[in-house]
Symmetry: C2
Subunit: 491 residues, 2 copies
């Protein structure tokens, strides 16, 4: 135990829950299944949002905002969609409360019943495609490339902070195109954007693939996904991008006239990443001492802690710290100076370790004399003494090194935990002994997929996009298969 | 009529509605009372958000996120609060739909009834103060300065795009302090932040004041506000900042130990601005030709339109445009080059006029020969020919001038429409003939305020903070009064 967090080796699940709370990332609210994202946690999410939003804009997308509520009847318009979401919808039935007769509070006013119940959006395809019907008439209106940042609600019985909550924050992109190929290209482009963000900002390596029929989005033709591996050997779906075909265009009658005036339904995509990414970020890099943040997503990648006894020392160290902050700022690096006198240096060291600050600088009276500082890096927990002269270069180098080190460490762990297995016995053994990703042959049927899931709790995470064609036999049914698919137990 | 927008003088209300739709800002959704904020409208809201968010951060606030849902019982904990909001709450009563027996769609599953109904937040004081109870123990935890960007729902029977919608977007700040004075100072600081934003970014002059008892926020001790005047002489409340006293701290039992260990309830504030600001922005500056945007909030303050006949000309103009865009970029000014060949220059000119782009640059073959461009400014509809050499300085100057001009024009209009009146006859006459703000004496009672409202539809917008003390008699009751208050008919 350290700072009240259990060790990962003792109880990974409890370690995660406690870390999320102790590092001030999020907590459960008294509202069933809903979380409170605390200021520190939210500041990390804001960094994620900013990076992703920039990437969307660079690829031609714009933001908009659509209603929180969806008329119940909309859901039914796409058959698979309603099947997928009806079982977990929060339903608004009334629009007013009134004082209770016994004066103890408020009750629902039965006179304020809605004619048609409203669903709190679990995802916005229906309300957006209903709108697109009016926005799209001709090929000139295409492609329509829109994203929204929003909250959505899916009623979950078993929730976990960030990983599975009834309400969560996300972005949802919804695009419309003139041709099938354009829509497929868009879905793949976004998968690349997600990969770029998750690998290069979050420092989390992913495997790109396509979901099986039973795992794909309710209403999609194809669901592309990126899958990451957590330290406990379980997989986590980090983002999905759906090629919708003409399904929603047909359900909501969205047609366009091409250059020759011929009418056809448009082709669509939708795609999203959620606050779940926070869960992945935490689980991939953090250790028994607390959170470990990649520099690119740390709200403040550097903190400076002064160590002093006299006011004079405090003043001199403060001046020095300001100079360092300025020199880092010139390089675009944000450093925070923690000169609070309500907490001792040791307390602060522990606090920033717990909160995963990539680089901590300590300056004491002897450092002032020597023209040095002490630098501690969070990922390796190593320390070094560095000259103040040129410190900004050293810090910049360190931050780049930390970013790269986190990614490489995660990639090595991930690669060491991809196992090719050729029999169901081996499959079960590896799954129980080691976990991780399992590459195995599968006969392509939902029946086999379902049976393997029932017997092992492992699901097909994806059919990897870069999978080699390889003749083999299904580990479960023995039937022929032409490529391996990726299995894992997952969050 | 111009571009299908009625003139302001003919029908101000219709002009507004049509402008909002035609300029692609927002539209009604089929979901009762909820709007769709279209990409162009949302890009303006994003600029607003970014500016406000920066100001909050510069004044020490951080963002967080609290649940969308509020247990019904929470509302009742603060007596005034429940009185104010219970009548307009969207209520979630069930968490699942199921297939209807006749197979025509989905119905609410009666077996999935919630034990306690949930309210979709109309504002988050209750759920946030319930959380603060756990976050605040000692003076070291104070002040707590938190903001959230969120959607809220207040069931409105009569809605108007941006001005009054069932769902709207806003930011809501919620702070906790050790002393009464600190909380009052915070509420006033935020009022200054709002004033700064609305005047210096939106170019809309405001009057700062405090609300009367009957107009204040349900649960506040004092509500500070900023009031703006629209072109039709009606007022619009642009932002409010509430000093909550210890009301919510007492309702949710939020206490802190001071340095001596003495326990006391904390002092609170809450404050917000909403997508309503979009309504104010549109109504203050726009004209019969369409939207007029202040440069600081225009997603792209400059557009460049090429005029050409041959491909060669198009290429040469394109090269020139790119140089201009680069030189503007170096000054932090975003310019858009509209080289679409699907639309003619005339169409584009009309489009950017309608959309309120501050500065439009046209480049034709003769301009290339002469080393000039044609510049048109949206606010005055005037044109000039400028040399390409040093064009970036001229544009920068123009944008500053437009920003200042819009503010001054709005201020002159506002000032010309503040009338001191000394009798109820005069009050009614000015209100009907001219509208605007009326400064009049009032006896300080809610009864008189209510009667004036019933007879004239004018409300007390605020008691101005800078009001001079002046002996007088109430225009309605004839009772003594020591200062004038600000009346108006309002949105």
């Amino acid at each position: 135990m350290s700072k009240g967090i259990p060790k990962r080796s003792e109880d990974y699940s409890l370690w995660y829950n406690e870390l999320v709370k102790k590092a001030d990332l999020a907590e459960n609210s008294p509202v069933r299944g809903c979380m409170v994202i605390k200021p520190y946690g939210f500041s990390i999410w804001e960094k994620m949002q900013a990076a992703i939003d920039t990437m969307f804009k660079e690829t031609g997308h714009t933001n908009a905002y659509f209603p929180l509520f969806i008329p119940k009847s909309y859901l039914s318009k796409e058959a698979d969609h309603v099947e997928g979401f009806a079982k977990e919808c929060a339903v608004v039935t009334h629009y007013r409360l009134k004082n209770s007769d016994n004066g103890t509070g408020v009750v629902v006013d039965p006179d304020a019943k809605l004619e048609e119940e409203l669903i709190v959006r679990p995802t916005s395809e229906t309300v957006i495609w209903n709108t697109y019907k009016n926005w799209i008439q001709s090929y000139r209106d295409l492609p329509l490339l829109i994203n929204q940042w929003a909250n959505v609600v899916r009623w979950e019985m078993r929730t976990r902070l960030f990983l599975r909550t009834a309400e969560f924050l996300w972005q949802e992109g919804h695009t419309a195109h003139a041709t099938k190929q354009e829509a497929v290209d868009e879905a793949r482009l976004i998968l690349d954007v997600y990969t770029d963000f998750v690998e290069n900002f979050m420092a989390v390596p992913v495997i790109k693939g396509v979901k099986t029929e039973s795992e794909k989005f309710a209403g999609a033709v194809d669901t592309y996904c990126i899958e990451a591996l957590m330290q406990d050997g379980k997989a986590l779906q980090a983002g999905t991008s759906h090629f919708l075909g003409q399904n929603f265009a047909k359900a909501f009658d969205v047609k366009f006239a091409d250059k020759e005036g011929k009418l056809d339904h448009v082709w669509g995509t939708s795609w999203g990443v959620t606050t779940r990414l926070m869960g992945a970020l935490i689980m991939v890099h953090s250790d028994d001492n607390g959170l470990v943040l990649p520099p690119k997503l740390a709200p403040s990648p550097v903190v400076i802690v002064p160590i002093y006894k006299t006011d004079e020392q405090a003043k001199a160290i403060g001046d020095q710290a300001k100079k360092i902050i300025e020199s880092l700022k010139a390089k675009g690096i944000i450093a925070k100076f923690d000169d609070r006198d309500t907490h001792k240096p040791g307390w602060k060291f522990a606090e920033y370790e717990l909160k995963g600050i990539p680089v901590r600088i300590a300056i004491g009276p002897r450092d002032l004399e020597n023209g040095t500082v002490e630098i501690a890096r969070r990922d390796t927990l190593s320390k070094e003494v560095a000259n103040i002269e040129g410190i900004e270069n050293r810090i910049e180098e360190l931050l780049e090194d930390i970013q790269a080190n986190l990614f490489n460490k995660a990639r090595v762990h991930r690669d060491e935990n991809i196992t090719k297995v050729d029999s169901f016995e081996e499959f079960k053994k590896v799954l129980d002994d080691k976990g991780g990703f399992l590459l195995a042959h599968w006969d392509g049927t939902p029946e086999t997929e379902q049976k393997i899931k029932e017997e092992t709790k492992a699901t097909i995470r994806c059919i990897p996009l870069d999978a080699e064609m390889e003749e083999g036999t299904c580990i479960y049914s023995g039937k022929p298969s032409s490529q391996r698919v990726l299995f894992a137990r997952a969050y």
